[in-house]
Structure formats: structure tokens, C-alpha cells
């Protein structure tokens, strides 16, 4: 039966209520879910991962493998550790991984079927028949195996905070506090991080320490906390867990700001601290480990130090008459705690031989009349969903004890997780039978039990000695202990079974349901490397990362392999130390803050005129404009395309990247960066230009305006602008630092409108009555600057549609007004706005490429027959030499061609293959000869047939030939003819009209 420790000072007496699986239960403020459940005598809290075995509360902290619950009142937050999450009034909690109820779980059939779920079962079973995995096995397994259910909605709930500090002390236990006191009022900036809501660690979790400097541990903690808080150089973070230890002393810690309080949906409940420090002091203590025996997972089995922690930290005695099973001297303090409160354990079982056990303990057992068995062990325990009977082996004799709880201690592991994350080396310590830190890789110190020092008397000496290189006061505390200071232990990882059976299970990993038999089987199957073994058996791969069991499994494996533990080694510890939610990592980078949205100055007009938007990089660009609500995308694009070629259309091209290139050597620089020759180009003219990589492949294209030899403006693709600018900068800084050139991104300094169509000249003449737009005064590919109101605009004659066209560059402030003016002037000429889809269709009709659609990083200008764009007489430009490499000069490279379906109503799909056969076999046995792929495909409203562009091997020599294009979901291919890629106006009459 549960009992209460009324002397516990840490729990307030404010009563609150919470619900567990719908049942209303009382608790005290300050309780964790686990302590509150134990207070209510509830031991069964969940079902296990694989076998659905009943499970209870095993520990009292972060190491908990079993007691994971779902918090319904916090948006269904799953897999919450009941042992650290604190309850508040009105909290709603449910158990996990059970159906229909916790007490009666149908999934428990897995326990009976367990022989087929042994190590690596998912690699061996569920092999067929075809389709069964996807439709039957996987959904079934996903439903029955696993943890909680994911939250329904994502909620942004964390903020990030950055720290730069001199010293970080991780762990505010005894050694952490002694260390922190040394830094009081020093020049060092110190951050003390404690995962609990209290400082003190072992001082409040046990009664091992009687007094410090003559005062009680509680008073000493209070005194220390006051001292630290008053010191301006020290910051204390409570409820904060360090999860990650990165290179160059970079730490990540998660703070729960609403621990024990109802969350406020309007405020962030978590803070992710990102800390950079020059020295990290680890004083994060140790974690108790268990011992494997038959049914060591039954609710009622608990770690001994956790049991003691519930007594002192939460005032709950989980069971008034437990059986204690240990292999070391540490459980002495639990014995003392129990007896001092007037309770007596049912029995004390120590696996050590009588002469190995401290006389102090033996005397205590005798004086208090506690039933004790030395050189004995627990063979196993039995019961229905809880411990009822415990079988003890004493030599060759077996006997049973009645108790509902069993406290186990298999020794202590220094918590080396963070130390090994920092890439420090660990070594095996025979005395404590565990790994402890050896050589630090970074500026890291380990103090206290994490360094393997379990002796309070030596603590101050250790801290003084390790910190002697810093100018701090000497710590000089007299720590008086209740229990023996010497730590002794007899290695015990697994107890002997009375008889072997497939149904009896000794667990080595409670969280993932891995048994000792699984380990044995995996080794028999040849998995003798610890990293392989771990993955094959899923041992220590649960969310608890095997905190109470991983060293046990190493020890067992080393025994099975007949190797030293140090030789077997540890598996790699990786961050995070304990799970943290994605929301914590995401911080404020959620929803609209995840990636900025860029909008042009005309955006509001687009919205009013039924634009449907497309994301281009971060930009929002109109994709097409709906004439009415019923118009489909296809109809809109067909309409826009047709009306433009008959009248005029205007496109908001403000998103186009614009880079200004200025300086003494601008001309030389441009000649090097682009394929084209700019030397003979006249000022105030422009040119379509290509930028290559050193490998000769097209990276970007755009129009280059030459104002003078010292001043150019280059446009880039909308999404390529940042990369082009960065590449230009790179070459200027690293390859040609002697060139005097300055680059400036002016993308957002101008709104850009592209007006094109046969009626454009008339419209422009009305908008700008003082400007002569005649062909003679304003020829194709020239530009001019004009005064407009109190600003300057630039107009360029250029076109991406193949029609007569102009581009207007105007400061964004004046953009919308001019846009509206153009529309009022253009009304009589049927001017329409058009979007990117129509732009793509029109340029495909004209055979213009789009970088990233026709090109994919493997296409040279020669492949597109753009030889005319290459300044062959230039000595050098980026990628020039690569164009004559044997591979780029091949004749059978994929080349740009046009496609026309033989049957004009056939629509070919972009991305489909071009092949020689009209029908694919039903079952493809031999590779089918592949000629190329379709890069663009549209139904042209102006030609009234479907057209396509394609990249085909040796395409230049295939004009007029017939091939076939594959169809998705159909074996019958579409016959096509290879044609010239320019479908409209190959003579450029419209363009230059």
C-alpha cells in the first residue's frame, strides 16, 4: 500500500485535481504525474511498445522507459514522461498504446505471439505476398505497435534564446552547487542549468547527506541559492534540460517555462537556449541501472534510488513493505529512509557475499530486524498486471516472498551522454563497473558522480583540484553523511533462471521490449559488433536511449562474446540527450515566419483582379488571372495567350533579378562572366546573355543592358538572382581581385512591367505621349531613360513572347499608379494582364528556353544551338574551355528540338520519355532505348494544336523523323514528329516590327 511521508518539505499542501483515463484524481501542487499516480496507488500506467505488456512507473526522472502518457489537455501531446511532467489543476492525461482499455488490451495478444516477434523479426517475416506489406501488414503494425498518437495540430510554442558565456555548469546538484559557489562575485560569466524545478539534486532526493558545514542540506541549498542569485555574474536556469553538446562548446538546452502550470496558448511555453561557452562543467550526476530477471518489467518493479526519491522529493512512499534487491552498497540509504519513517522492508536481498557487505549495513539490518538474504538474487516475479510474488534464489534453494513492490539497484552509471557527445573519451572503471569520462576533447570538466567519484568526502578536493587553473576561492565544506562513504559493488547483470521457457522474459530494454534472448539470438545470427547488434535488436533505441539499461546490454554482450567490456565498446551517443519536440526546434520559424513572402508593388492590384499566384523562389507571382470564377486554369491561359498575340498583354516582371555592375573594369568583368561579347556592343543597347559554370553548363540567363563600358545592368531569373550575385562576388574576390568592379542588387529598387503584343506601340504612345516609339527611333534591344513625374524611368525594347514588346523599369513607389495608367490607356486595345503560365506558353511557341526547364545543369549553349551567343573571339570566359571538352563537343548529346504530335489533339506530358517503339510491353524485361525527354508541352491556342520542346540525343540530325512519347499509366505511346523548336514567327518579323 502507498504511504505518505509527511515530513517532505518540497511538496506544497495545495490540493489539485487531474484526470487519468477519465478518472478524476487528487494530487498536490508540485507532484509529477508519476508521483500523483503513486499517491493514488495506481501502478499500471501503460502498455509496452511491442508486446503490449502491462507496465508501471520504473524510475523517478528523465531515464523513465515505461511511464509515457498522452496529455490530452495540451493538444494531445504524446509520449510525455510521467516522471518529470508536473501536474496542474485540470490536467487531462491518458495512457498510451492500448485498446480498448489499459486494463484489458487486445494488443496483448502480441505477448502470446512473441516468439515470432523476436530480434529482427521485421527483416524476416511479412515478405509476401506482393502488396500485403503496404496494404495489410504495415497499417496493422503501425496501429498496434508504437507509442502515443501524434497531436492533431501543430502549434508554435517555443522561442529561441542565445547566450555567450564563460562557464556553463550543467547540473545543480551537490557538486554543481559547490562549483557554482566558487564563482560567486568573480569576473566569470556563469550559467547554472538544472533540469528540475529545484536545486539540490541528491540532497533532496535522498537522505544520504546529513549536514553540510553543520547545517541541514535544505538550509544549505537555500543559503547557496541566495548566494548565487545575489551574485550578478551568475544566472540560474531551472526546468532546463541540456540536450545537445556540439563542437566548440556549443550547447542546446530546452527550458519548460510552464512546468506545473497550465499552459497559456498565447505565450510560448518553451525556450530553446543556444549557448556558446568557453568552458563547460558537467556535474550532471549518475543514473541507476537495473538488473535483468524474469518478468523484470511487471508494474511494481522500480529502481531503488527512484523509490527513495519519491519518499524525499514527493513525500510518497510507493509501497510500505517493498522487497529490496541490490548488488551494491547504495541501497543502505533507502533502508535508512524507510526505517526512519517507521516502515520496514519486507526483505533485503543482496547479491554480494556476506563478507563483501559493509559491517555497518549488516549491523543496521540486524538491529532493525530486517529479513535479509545475502549471496542471493531475485529469480523473477509473478503476478497479474502487478508484482504479487517474488521468487528468491539462495544458493540452490528457491523460495517465494509476497510483496507488491520490488526495488532494484544494479549500480550506478555516470551519466556520460553529454560528455561523449562532446567527443570525450571514456574508459571502463572496474570499481563502479561502468564507463567514466577519461580525456576531454573540448574544454570540458566533469565533477562529482559523473566523473565516477561517488565519495562525498572527496568531492571538495576533486572540485578544487580540477578548477585550480581558474582564480577562484577554495571550496571547503564539511559534508557529514548518513551512510557509508565507500561504494562497493558486485557485478550482476542477469540472474539465473529456474527453467528456460519461450514465454518467460527477462528484459534488457524495457522501452523497446528487447529481451536477453533477443540479444543471444542476434549474436548467434552473427551480429557481433555492438552497433550492428543495437540496430538489429533495437536495443537502447527507444526514446529513453537505454539510460537505465545500455551498460547492462554491453556487459551481457561482452559475456556472450567472451570479450572485455572495454573491447566491446559503447555505441555512439548522439544528441539529443532526451527527446525534444519539433516545435521546440522550429521556434518562431513557423507558418508565415518560416520563409518570408516577397510581394511586388502591384500585388494589391493582382489580388483585386482574381490573380492565382505561383511561388517563384520567395516571390508571389501571378500565375494566371481568372476572367470569372468558373474559368479554369487551362481556359484562362488559352484566353490570355490568344488575346496577347492579337492585342496586347502586360506582365508584372518586378521579381526579375537585377544586378548593377559598375567600375573601371566592368566591361572586362562582364566579358568574363557571360558567354556573350560586350566589347563592340554600343552603349544603351541590350543583349540576351548566358552565364555558364566552369563545366560549360548553363547556370542562368538574362538581358544585359550596357550603359557604358563602366556601367552595366544585368537581369537574372527570378529565383536565380541571389546565386548569380553571390557567384559574381566570389569571382571578383577570389579570382580577379585586381578588377575594380562593384556589384549591387537593385531587384527591389525597380518595378518592372513587360508589355507585349501587336498593339503595344499604340498603348505606349498613349501612356508616354512625348516619347517616339517608332522602329527607327526605338529599335529592338535598345533602351532609353526618361523623366517621368519627379522620377526617372527606363524603357527597353525587348520581348520574351516573340511579339513587339517593351520593358518599363520604374521605382516601386510609382509602380502601381503607372500600371493603372497603362490599363486605362490600353483598354481600347484590349490590353490584358497575364501570368507566368501564359508567359511560358508564349515563349514555348517562340522556341525560347526557360533555365531550369529546358536546362537542368547538364545543358550547354551548344546543345540549345545557341552558338551565336558565344563570344568565340573572346580569350576567356567562365566555362569557355569546357565547351571544347570531348564530352561537351559530342554530336549525340541531348539537343533542343520541337515536337509536334502527329494527331493534333494528342497532348504530350512534360517529363515523359521519347522512345522508338509505339507501345511498351506489358512487362518490361529488357531496357527500352531512350532518346530523350519532353521539357515543355502546351496546347497552343494560336496554332490550335499541341506543341512541345524536347531534349533529344543527336536531335539536330533528327528533324522530320517520327518517334513516340510515353504516357503515364498507359503502354500506348503518342507518335510525334521532330521539328524546329521555333513554332511562331521564325523570321522574327513580329519581334522587330
Amino acid at each position: 500500500m502507498t504511504a505518505i511521508n509527511n515530513e517532505c518539505p518540497y511538496i506544497s499542501k495545495n490540493k489539485i485535481n487531474f484526470t487519468f483515463d477519465g478518472k478524476n484524481l487528487p494530487a498536490y501542487e508540485g507532484d509529477t504525474i508519476a508521483s500523483a499516480l503513486l499517491r493514488n496507488n495506481i501502478r499500471l500506467v501503460g502498455r509496452s511498445f511491442k508486446y503490449h505488456r502491462p507496465r508501471g512507473i520504473y524510475t523517478c526522472g528523465i531515464e523513465e522507459p515505461n511511464a509515457l502518457v498522452q496529455i490530452l489537455s495540451e493538444h494531445n501531446e504524446p509520449n510525455t514522461r510521467a516522471t518529470i511532467k508536473r501536474v496542474y489543476d485540470g490536467m487531462e492525461i491518458s495512457s498510451q498504446n492500448r485498446w480498448p482499455s489499459l486494463k484489458f488490451d487486445l494488443g496483448a495478444i502480441n505477448n502470446i505471439l512473441s516468439p515470432i516477434f523476436s530480434a529482427g523479426f521485421y527483416y524476416k517475416t511479412f515478405m509476401g505476398p506482393k502488396g500485403f506489406w503496404k496494404n495489410i501488414y504495415e497499417p496493422l503494425i503501425r496501429k498496434s505497435a508504437g507509442l502515443g498518437k501524434p497531436p492533431k495540430n501543430f502549434r508554435s510554442k517555443s522561442i529561441h534564446q542565445y547566450h555567450n558565456t564563460d562557464i556553463v555548469i550543467i547540473g545543480g546538484g551537490l557538486s554543481g552547487l559547490i562549483t557554482a559557489r566558487k564563482f560567486v562575485n568573480t569576473k566569470y560569466k556563469v550559467l547554472l542549468i538544472e533540469q528540475d524545478s529545484f536545486l539540490g539534486g541528491i540532497l533532496k532526493n535522498s537522505n544520504k547527506v546529513d549536514s553540510i558545514n553543520g547545517i541541514s542540506p535544505l538550509e544549505w541549498i537555500k543559503e547557496t541559492e541566495e548566494l548565487l542569485s545575489d551574485s550578478k555574474n551568475i544566472t540560474i536556469l531551472k526546468n532546463t534540460l541540456v540536450t545537445t553538446y556540439n563542437f566548440t562548446n556549443h550547447l542546446v538546452a530546452l527550458e519548460d517555462k510552464y512546468s506545473g502550470r497550465k499552459i497559456d496558448l498565447k505565450k510560448s511555453e518553451l525556450t530553446l537556449h543556444k549557448i556558446r561557452t568557453s568552458l563547460t562543467i558537467l556535474s550532471n550526476g549518475h543514473i541507476e541501472r537495473f538488473i535483468s530477471f524474469r518478468n523484470n518489467d511487471l508494474p511494481g518493479v522500480m529502481l531503488a534510488s527512484s523509490f527513495e526519491k519519491y519518499i524525499h522529493r514527493y513525500g510518497v512512499i510507493p509501497e510500505s513493505k517493498p522487497v529490496i534487491f541490490t548488488n551494491n552498497s547504495s541501497t543502505f540509504s533507502l533502508l535508512k529512509s524507510m526505517t526512519s519513517l517507521g516502515y520496514k522492508p519486507e526483505a533485503y536481498i543482496d547479491s554480494r557475499k556476506k563478507d563483501e557487505i559493509e559491517t555497518e549495513i549488516k549491523k543496521f539490518l540486524k538491529n532493525n530486524n530486517i529479513t535479509s538474504y545475502f549471496d542471493s538474487e531475485v529469480e523473477g516475479c509473478d503476478g497479474n498486471k502487478k508484482v504479487e510474488k517474488i521468487t528468491i534464489r539462495n544458493g540452490k534453494n528457491y523460495f517465494k516472498l509476497n510483496s507488491s513492490m520490488l526495488c532494484v539497484s544494479g549500480g550506478f552509471n555516470p551519466d556520460i551522454h553529454l560528455f561523449t557527445q562532446s567527443k570525450g573519451l571514456v574508459k571502463w572503471d572496474k570499481l563502479i563497473a561502468s564507463f567514466k569520462p577519461d580525456t576531454s576533447f573540448q574544454r570540458t570538466l566533469t565533477l562529482g558522480s559523473v566523473s565516477g567519484n561517488y565519495n562525498f568526502k572527496k568531492l571538495c578536493d576533486e572540485i578544487n583540484q580540477k578548477l585550480s587553473f581558474l582564480k577562484t576561492k577554495k571550496a571547503n565544506l564539511e559534508i557529514k553523511c548518513n551512510v557509508t562513504n565507500k561504494f562497493s559493488l558486485r557485478e550482476l547483470w542477469e540472474t539465473k533462471k529456474k527453467k528456460n521457457s519461450n514465454w518467460s522474459k527477462s528484459f534488457i530494454d524495457l522501452h523497446n521490449d528487447v529481451t536477453i534472448n533477443d540479444l543471444k539470438q542476434a549474436i548467434t545470427e552473427g551480429f557481433d559488433r555492438i552497433e550492428h547488434l543495437k540496430r538489429y535488436t533495437t536495443n537502447s533505441m527507444g526514446t529513453d536511449q537505454g539510460k537505465i539499461s545500455s551498460i547492462n546490454s554491453l556487459a551481457l554482450v561482452s559475456k556472450l562474446l567472451k570479450k572485455e567490456i572495454a573491447e566491446v565498446g559503447t555505441t555512439t551517443y548522439r544528441p539529443p540527450y532526451a527527446p525534444l519536440s519539433f516545435a521546440a526546434i522550429a521556434g518562431r520559424s513557423t507558418y508565415e515566419f518560416y520563409d518570408p513572402e516577397r510581394k511586388t508593388s502591384i500585388h494589391s492590384w493582382h489580388l483585386e483582379n482574381n490573380a492565382v499566384f505561383e511561388d517563384v523562389g520567395q516571390w508571389k507571382r501571378p500565375w494566371y488571372f481568372k476572367a470569372n470564377n468558373d474559368e479554369t486554369m487551362h481556359q484562362a491561359v488559352q484566353r490570355e495567350s490568344k488575346m496577347l498575340r492579337q492585342g496586347a498583354g502586360i506582365l508584372d516582371g518586378s521579381t526579375l533579378g537585377k544586378i548593377e555592375i559598375k567600375g573601371r573594369d566592368a566591361l572586362e568583368f562582364m566579358n568574363l562572366m557571360y558567354t556573350n561579347a560586350f566589347t563592340k556592343m554600343k552603349p544603351m543597347t541590350s543583349r540576351y546573355a548566358l552565364m555558364l559554370g566552369e563545366d560549360g553548363m548553363i547556370k542562368d540567363d538574362g538581358i544585359i543592358c550596357k550603359i557604358s563600358d563602366q556601367h552595366f545592368i544585368a537581369t537574372t531569373t527570378s529565383s536565380g538572382a541571389p546565386k548569380v550575385l553571390a557567384d559574381m562576388e566570389e569571382y571578383l574576390q577570389t579570382e580577379w581581385p585586381h578588377l575594380q568592379v562593384y556589384l549591387n542588387s537593385i531587384t527591389e529598387q525597380f518595378s518592372t512591367f513587360n508589355i507585349s503584343g501587336p498593339k503595344t506601340r499604340d498603348i505606349m504612345a498613349r501612356v508616354f505621349p512625348h516619347i517616339d516609339f517608332s522602329n527607327e527611333a526605338f529599335p529592338f534591344m535598345t533602351f532609353k531613360n526618361f523623366d517621368y513625374q519627379d522620377t526617372k524611368i527606363r524603357i527597353m525594347r525587348a520581348s520574351f513572347t516573340g511579339e513587339l514588346g517593351y520593358e518599363i523599369y520604374i521605382p516601386p513607389k510609382y509602380g502601381l499608379e503607372l500600371w493603372e495608367k497603362i490599363f486605362s490607356c490600353g483598354k481600347v486595345f484590349n490590353l490584358i494582364p497575364y501570368g507566368t503560365e501564359t508567359m511560358h506558353l508564349l515563349r514555348a511557341e517562340k522556341g525560347y528556353i526557360v533555365v531550369g526547364q529546358e536546362t537542368d545543369g547538364t545543358v550547354t549553349p551548344l546543345d540549345l544551338n545557341y552558338n551565336w551567343m558565344i563570344g568565340k573571339n573572346k580569350k576567356d570566359f567562365i566555362g569557355k574551355r569546357s565547351l571544347s571538352r570531348p564530352d561537351t563537343a559530342r554530336n549525340d548529346r541531348k539537343q533542343l528540338v520541337g515536337l509536334l504530335p502527329i494527331n493534333q489533339s494528342d497532348m504530350i506530358e512534360e517529363g515523359q520519355h521519347i522512345v522508338e517503339i509505339n507501345k511498351l510491353p506489358n512487362k518490361i524485361k529488357n531496357p527500352i532505348k531512350y532518346l530523350g525527354h519532353v521539357s515543355s508541352s502546351y496546347h497552343s491556342p494560336n496554332l490550335n494544336k499541341s506543341i512541345g520542346l524536347a531534349m533529344i540525343k543527336g536531335g539536330n540530325n533528327l528533324l522530320g523523323q517520327r518517334f513516340f512519347v510515353t504516357v503515364s499509366g498507359n503502354t500506348k505511346n503518342i507518335p510525334v514528329e521532330i521539328v524546329n523548336p521555333v513554332f511562331i514567327d521564325p523570321e522574327n518579323k513580329r519581334l522587330t516590327s
Binding site: F247, T572, E730
Partner: protein, 116 residues
């Protein structure tokens, strides 16, 4: 996340920087006179050592300046930072630095977290 000392701005988080691969790969002055093989080596071949590596970084979310770094790819320690126009430090300068975090072999990786 490593800490990088930009020679122009000082120490900053790695997230402010972008890596530019091997340093001191000079673009040939006369590409046309190079054989296909030599040009191909300039374009496509880079060293990828386990150990000391001369590499380029750019403070892309800062001053946008390129600079050179000597980094041990095995320990991720930055041994030296210098500007593009400064002399390449000699390898002997780094002879006495840590070779690897856990005494691993000079090629490949593995779980050698435990000292024998």
C-alpha cells in the same frame, strides 16, 4: 555547430557562413592552352582529406567576404583563418595539433569512442 572567426567581423556561428570547398585552387590563366585532362582536373577534382584541409569560407550572412581556413576535418578544429591575399600557412605549422578526437585510423571512420 562550429565557431568561425571571420577575419573581418570576428567570431560568429557557423550558420552565418557558407563553405566554398578547397582553397588555393587557382583558375588557370590560359585555359585554352590546357589539355583536356588538366582542365578537367581543375573543374572536377578536389581533395577531400581526413585531417588538415585548406578550405574557403564566405561570411554569406555577414560581410559577404571570402577568406581561407585551415581546418582539421577529423576534429573539426579550425587551426587558422586568413584572408585571401595572405600567404598559405605551411603544413608544418600544424604538426603538433590533435589528429583525431578518439585515436581513429587515418582513413575511414568507425566507433572508436573507447580507448583500448
Amino acid at each position: 555547430m562550429i565557431l568561425i572567426k571571420c577575419p573581418y567581423c570576428g567570431e560568429r556561428d557557423q550558420s552565418e557562413f557558407a563553405n566554398g570547398g578547397e582553397a588555393h585552387v587557382v583558375r588557370p590563366k590560359n585555359p585554352e592552352s590546357l589539355s583536356d585532362k588538366d582542365w578537367g582536373e581543375y573543374v572536377f577534382y578536389r581533395n577531400n582529406p581526413k585531417g588538415i584541409f585548406y578550405e574557403r569560407w564566405v561570411h554569406s550572412h555577414g560581410c559577404k567576404k571570402w577568406f581561407n581556413v585551415v581546418r582539421n576535418t577529423s576534429t573539426d578544429q579550425i587551426l587558422k583563418v586568413y584572408k585571401v591575399n595572405e600567404k598559405r600557412p605551411d603544413l608544418t605549422e600544424f604538426e603538433n595539433t590533435l589528429k583525431s578526437p578518439s585515436g581513429e585510423p587515418s582513413v575511414g571512420s568507425g566507433n572508436f569512442a573507447v580507448k583500448k
